[in-house]
Amino acid sequence: MEFVAQHPILVVSIVKIVVLLFVLMTALAYLTWFERKVVARIQSRLGPLYVGAHGLLQPLADGLKFLFKEDLTPPASDKFVYILAPFLALSLALTTLALIPFGPATLTILGQPTNLGITNSSIGLLFVFAITSIGVYGVALAGWSSNSKYPLLGGLRASAQMVSYEVSLTLSVVGVVLLAGTLNLNDLIYAQSGRWFHFIPRWNVIPQIVGFICYFISAIAETNRVPFDLPEAETELVAGFHTEYSSFKFAMFFMAEYANMITVSCLATILFLGGWLSPLSSAWRWPLYLPGALLLIGGVALVYDTAILQRGIARIQLAVISVGALVLGAICFIPSVMPVVQGPFWFLLKVVFLLFFYVWTRGTLPRFRYDQLMDFGWKFLLPVALANLVVTSFVVLVLNR
């Protein structure tokens, strides 16, 4: 107890970690629902529909199913590494999110000023890349330890692809670092405040549009998503590196993939889209009411849906959700809460937009061939990222004269 009293920052950090983990796990589950719904719409289908209202209980059902499946371990596998691999993949994917700042506001919890993020490291960006760079092990070791042909090929492909695209991923970001002159994620966002001609926000997407495009393409490849999902190309490799995995170990790889998607989108938001900064002028007062108002409108729409369209269990479930949305919306109007929710509101809006873009890409593009993937990474993306870096550093040098 004395130890805890001496280190209040530890207690606050642990509380923040628990809250973030809870929110993140829910977000991961509903990201799968979001993806299935959006892809279904793109392909003129309805998507998950029967489990709960609008299929909203589908992620829960999937989670339970994963838990109750038989957990097989191939007899010829390397037991220790086989179990270690999914743990590595998931824990590294989750660790990165500890570095993401979700808002500018400083709250005082237990007499300890805390920001809306777990840490605020002076070289946050480098740490994010450090952790993503060891994320390869989860996939590579899973492929090797299964002691089976398809996983091995998938693991090799995945590690080669991730190592290749990591180069252009990192290089595309250096332009932003040069413009801001810092590696701290908070300072990187503050460097983007202000406006050109009084109305265009000074976000890095505009001067660093080439960097942004390079970053996003490499990020899709880095997270092994369509059109770069060669490591798990089901037509050639069954399921790639996680062919032999079942039950919750498979679910851990699945969760790691979605957590990586969220991390990459958060980072793109911070580096290129101005993080938590609002695109609307700070002179206006009405944008302050926006988060609450949107939640209230959503809640009213859900109430209508509950009353008119839904039947049975779905009705009860949707009623709970709509009451929750209405209460949250009302809370957002409390004067002391209003400034706190602004940052996270814009941040989450941008992240959801990028995640939608991810899913949109998946629904639109076919898969690359492996040699095309490598050619594209090394012969196109890397030179473009390098050229962007050279031009940016030249411009920064001239402007600072």
Partner: protein, 169 residues
């Protein structure tokens, strides 16, 4: 016991145990994993010293790049368990005495350096707002020439590897 001290002893113990495991584990992949463990715990030790940049670079370069290469090579070669042999003549008559001598040498100098250490580090450590910036100034101002020479050496090594790899075709 303060928190940094507890962390230091934990990570130092992990680093030493990991280093021993690298030698004593028989499966090459397990040895490589133990080596990664050593690298990561060293990075934590750098963090405790306040050298955040070095810690991040340690993970990115060693754990994230070099060890990935090791792992891929081991996976591709599908190397089995290592075989144990008895000491060769060379090892018995030259290697063993030299090893023992060097260990004693190390112990001797370390036990003497430990007494002088606090004064030395006290002189070196300068409190700075941004250690990363200081490091950049050192690398690109004071030691620019050796830094560039290093990059040329690495480039030459890269070209050499390319030439060797292209030989057959």
């Amino acid at each position: 016991m303060t928190l940094p001290l507890i962390l230091f002893f934990a990570c130092a113990a992990i680093a030493v145990i990991g280093a021993l495991l690298v030698i004593f584990l028989r499966e090459p992949i397990h040895s490589a994993l133990a080596l990664i463990l050593v690298m990561v715990s060293l990075a934590v030790l750098y963090l405790l010293l306040g050298a955040e940049f070095i810690a991040a670079v340690q993970i990115i370069v060693y754990a994230g790049a070099i060890m990935v290469l090791f792992i891929i090579v081991i996976m591709l070669l599908n190397a089995g368990e290592e075989e144990r042999t008895n000491l060769s003549k060379m090892a018995r008559y030259a290697g063993l005495p030299l090893g023992i001598f060097l260990t004693l040498d190390l112990v001797y100098w370390l036990s003497h350096a430990a007494l002088a250490a606090p004064a030395a580090t006290g002189a070196v450590s300068t409190e700075s707002a941004d250690p990363t910036r200081d490091l950049a100034f050192l690398l690109f101002r004071s030691y620019l020439f050796p830094f560039e020479i290093t990059s040329i050496v690495i480039l030459i090594a890269l070209l050499g590897a390319l030439v060797l790899a292209k030989k057959d075709s």
